[in-house]
Point group: C2
Chain length 84, copies 2
């Protein structure tokens, strides 16, 4: 695999996994006042469109990255609505 | 332009612009306690790698989306460090 493609996988892994610390912090502290609900609603919608885009293009990295991101973002949304 | 490509542009616009409401909320309320510093550091690093990936592939959408996202995320990082 070309170096630049490996770099793309690293980039996708970072932007996807970056939501894990936010899920952990919100889960632990049960406080979401400073988190923008609008941001996560819009981001989630965009992630679902990327997921569909990935299916149409049969692109495993796009499907995988946005599937995982979508789950993490959905989890933050649930916590945000629960602990407004 | 194919419909699926238009959908990809809409997805990119949503995931990029989603950070604007977070920047606005943080700028207005000057409170970042609930925001994960680790998330934004990791996300920013990933965005910069995507930016380089886009330059190498001469992909305007990837460069544009990650350039704008990088700026917005950097702004949130500055606010996070300022109003810890």
């Amino acid at each position: 695999m070309e170096t630049i493609e490996i770099l793309g996988l690293v980039a996708a892994t970072l932007t996807t996994s970056s939501f894990v610390p936010q899920v952990y912090k919100t889960w632990k502290e049960k406080s979401t006042k400073d988190i923008s609900l609008t941001m996560y609603l819009v981001f989630f919608t965009g992630t679902m469109l990327w997921l569909y885009y990935g299916f149409v293009h049969r692109s495993a990295p796009i499907v995988f990255a946005n599937g995982v991101t979508g789950l993490l973002v959905a989890f933050i949304l649930v916590l945000k609505l629960k602990y407004r």
